[in-house]
């Protein structure tokens, strides 16, 4: 039974399920927009950083690394011992300060303290040449991090330039350049590294007092070796990226508007490769540190007296039974650095790799 009101419209029965006719008015644009809620948009970078922040291991690693970096900058300023300084008390060589356990003092030092003086504690003890071990480990860490960073930088720069040129130009140039890469790639890298290090050790002679001499031939040879061999992976990666991006329509669009090659590479291609580049470099650093400490362990690393975590570990093999701490500290340092870098690199890859989706 339908009741009608004045207009002849069916009256809305309180109990009926009939719809309120006013609702049949057209909806306005704003009302429609309210319904159309799109998910929050954000840039690729922000998205990645957000994901990274949610990763506890990566964040912890970042904190650890920052702490380590702060430590290696600050500690040498605080600790009164040099890395090659043979401990002496009141100007006299302290022969008894050999292989001291952590936080102990030699007889001479003890006497010195008893006389009312302050002697900075040997946090990690001393080594067989009466040098403070903590400082040496700190400097060893410095060496590792610097080598790791700069080696990766060299790899990045050379690889990027080589790869971009090869990828962008294509054709015969690309073919030849990639053949060269293939040849270098097929060489057993560690053997070549060792070989080159051995040779450079003898061959490279630097004028005394120059920066290069300070670094030591081995350090320089390490960089040369990295520059010669390790960039190929990065070059291939970049070239691959460029090849795939080159075909994309937005590059074609840029070319149609007349953009020059350099600009195209800079503004369109490289930003897209950025995530791949960052991830690859982040994972290259621990690998470089690995290589450096390995070489140092077999005696081809930085020159004494400059310590390297690898050479410290090697030296600790003598007297391992009696002074185990001499091995433990540099070993822990290496593991900590490499682990943090690996975790951070992994975290970055999980966060920034566009191919990874959950």
């Amino acid at each position: 039974m339908v009741n009608y009101d004045e207009n002849g419209t069916p009256k809305k029965n309180k109990l009926s399920l009939q719809i309120d006719l006013s609702k049949f008015e057209p909806a306005t644009e704003e009302e429609k927009k309210q319904q159309d809620v799109m998910s929050k948009s954000s840039t690729f970078f922000k998205d990645g950083m957000r994901k990274l922040r949610k990763n506890p291991l990566a964040m912890a690693s970042m904190i650890v690394l920052v702490l380590i970096i702060v430590l290696i900058i600050v500690a040498p300023l605080v600790i009164p011992y040099g890395y090659s300084e043979i401990l002496s008390v009141n100007g006299k060589r302290d022969k008894g300060a050999k292989n001291l356990a952590p936080f102990t003092y030699s007889k001479m030092e003890q006497k010195y303290i008893d006389e009312g003086n302050y002697r900075f504690p040997h946090v990690f003890g001393t080594d067989e040449q009466c040098r403070d071990y903590f400082v040496r480990v700190i400097y060893g860490t410095r060496v590792s991090l610097i080598v790791g960073f700069f080696a990766s930088l060299i790899v990045l720069i050379i690889g990027m330039i080589y790869g971009s040129i090869s990828g962008y130009l294509g054709g015969t140039v690309d073919l030849i350049m990639m053949r060269i890469v293939d040849i270098i790639y097929s060489l057993p890298d560690m053997l070549m590294v060792i070989l080159l290090s051995v040779v450079f050790k003898e061959v490279l002679v630097f004028p005394d007092g120059s920066i290069l001499a300070k670094l030591g031939t081995n350090m320089v040879s390490l960089f040369i070796v990295f520059g010669l061999l390790y960039w190929v992976g990065m070059a291939r990666l970049i070239r691959g990226q460029i090849l795939s991006i080159k075909e994309n329509d937005y590059v074609l669009a840029a070319r149609t508007v007349g953009a020059k090659a350099g600009r195209i590479i800079r503004s369109h291609i490289l930003p897209n490769c950025l995530s791949v580049i960052i991830i690859s470099t982040a994972l290259q650093i621990p690998s470089a540190i690995f290589t450096e400490s390995y070489l140092s362990f077999i005696g081809l690393g930085v020159q004494a007296p400059m310590p390297s975590l690898g050479s410290l570990a090697n030296a600790a093999r003598q007297g391992l039974q009696t002074y185990p701490y001499k091995l433990v500290f540099p070993a822990l340092a290496i593991c900590l650095i490499v682990l943090s870098l690996n975790l951070l690199g992994d975290g970055m890859r999980d966060a920034f790799d566009p191919k990874l989706r959950r």
Binding site: P188, I194, L195, L320, Q321, P324, A331
Partner: protein
């Protein structure tokens, strides 16, 4: 197929040749000659060396003579103790081979099993434990692990004897050597298994009514092994270089430790011969892996 194998073999030979050349010329680039370095060698020794290594001939000719002798099995003479290098290699290589093979097998097999297990129990306890330990071990270089193991198990706890020819205990050296490759393989196997499980053909198998375990062991596993086998080549290279330090730390008389002492002693003839030998080994290993890989993945392009 045969053409492919032949091409690969030729490439391998070429690579070894290039490496030999690089090694040879680098060694001879050392000023003062590698053959009359610091040691005050007697004139007779110098003459013997000259004769043996044809040092009076032009360099390139020396190279080809060297190669010729190498192929005949004559590796030259150690500068350190005058012994035939060929003999030294012959004695020490079997030890290294035993160590190396065990480590490779360990790393590959155990790594694949653990990695697949981690993939299958994703985000549950086994996965977390496996990933925890494998992440940890990818951060420990072989020489660090070797020295630590030596310290803890041989010296402090005295559970295992130090290696000698009378007590050839390979447990610790294998662990030290295989730890990193195994950890890496585990993570690789997990990722590739997860990848495989994500593929469309797995959905097809499910849609056909194939049982869960069969999907994993038949359909996914074979595909997930492909990246693992691809890694086998670099893994073997790692183990060869790793054996150098592991043997040194555990005082095992293998070819690796011989190499390291040659470096320390500047025994250039030894360095040269050993480098070429090890490089050849790596190239052969890579070749085998290459062929194996193509056998597993039928999407081969016989270029």
């Amino acid at each position: 197929m045969a053409r492919y194998i032949i091409k690969r073999v030729i490439l391998a030979v070429l690579t070894v040749f290039i490496i030999s050349a690089i090694t040879f010329f680098l060694m001879h680039a050392i000023p003062g000659g590698p053959f009359n370095k610091e040691k005050a060698l007697s004139q007779a020794t110098i003459d013997a060396l000259n004769q043996r290594y044809n040092l009076d001939k032009p360099l390139v000719e020396q190279f080809f003579i060297y190669i010729r002798e190498l192929l005949k099995g004559d590796f030259g003479v150690s500068l350190k103790n005058g012994r035939e290098i060929g003999q030294i290699i012959g004695e020490s290589f079997p030890i290294s081979a035993r160590l190396g093979f065990t480590a490779v097998a360990f790393a590959l097999v155990l790594g694949t099993i653990l990695g697949s297990l981690a993939a299958l129990t994703r985000n549950k306890l086994p996965d977390r434990i496996i990933i925890f330990f494998s992440t940890l071990f990818t951060a420990v270089p072989s020489f660090v692990l070797a020295t630590l193991l030596l310290l803890i198990f041989c010296i402090q706890l005295q559970w295992l004897p130090v290696w000698s020819t009378q007590t050839p205990n390979y447990v610790l050296p294998v662990i030290a050597l295989a730890a990193y490759p195994m950890a890496y393989t585990t993570r690789l196997a997990k990722t590739s298994m997860l990848d495989a499980l994500d593929q469309d053909y797995i959905r097809t198998a499910r849609a056909k009514g194939v049982a869960h375990w069969k999907i994993i062991f038949k359909h996914a596993l074979r595909n997930s092994l492909i990246p693992v086998i691809t890694y086998a080549g670099p893994e073997i290279a790692y183990i060869i270089t790793g054996s150098m330090v592991v043997e040194t730390v555990f005082t095992i008389g293998g070819i690796g430790s011989q190499f390291v002492s040659a470096i320390t002693n500047r025994d250039y003839t030894m360095i040269m011969a050993t480098t070429i030998f090890l490089a050849a080994l790596m190239v052969v290993a890579n070749l085998i892996c290459d062929l194996l890989y193509k056998a597993v993945d039928p999407r081969i392009k016989y270029d």
